[in-house]
Symmetry: C2
């Protein structure tokens, strides 16, 4: 349970940066070296290494080093838990606003009948 929460914490934190989201989208199409990612996102190698490290810690990316090149690809975590959390929240959120709509409708009805 704690493991679950920690993973979800780490992946939401990893997703809070636009470069890291961009890297995930890029790796969704094809694997890439850290150098290629740094070039694509106009970033220093050191900066990109840090971003990839955060994604790797969250299980969203895996890397392997062959010679001097470290290649990145999508990791084993497919964000199912995070998607499920968001979906559940969206349902609750929509229901809350439906409730508000009903209250407003009720007020309008009462106002009309008292005219």
């Amino acid at each position: 349970m704690v493991q679950y929460s920690q993973s979800v914490d780490a992946s939401f934190a990893a997703l809070s940066d636009p470069t890291r989201r961009g890297v995930l989208q890029q790796l969704g199409h094809t694997e890439a070296s850290i150098t290629e990612l740094a070039d694509k996102f106009h970033m220093s190698l050191t900066g990109m290494k840090k971003h990839v490290g955060v994604l790797e810690q969250a299980g969203l990316v895996t890397t392997r080093k062959v010679g001097r090149v470290r290649t990145c690809r999508l990791g084993n975590r497919g964000l199912e838990e995070e998607a499920a959390w968001l979906e559940q929240h969206r349902r609750l959120w929509a229901a809350r606003f439906d409730d508000l709509d009903k209250v407003v409708d009720e007020l309008k009805r009462k106002e009309k009948s008292s005219e």
Copy 2:
């Protein structure tokens, strides 16, 4: 465009904490004062105020103060953009692993035919 990214950054960052996710779930059922939320999550008032502040900044919660009581409810943002991002990523992720499956199947076929 920047506005879009900043909102998504802020909401994913807000979701990276289990207490803040818990507060959102709680407010999905009913509105609550900061004191009630602090009690429920066994946290100091100051700690809870900070968490609510992060959620408010991200547009996920709104608060209003009546007398000395600040009441929290779900904000206007229903996390549609975040859910859409996750869904797109999940599709790419699944496709990547389907591709890998095909490569493995192909290798197995070749191995079998060369036996």
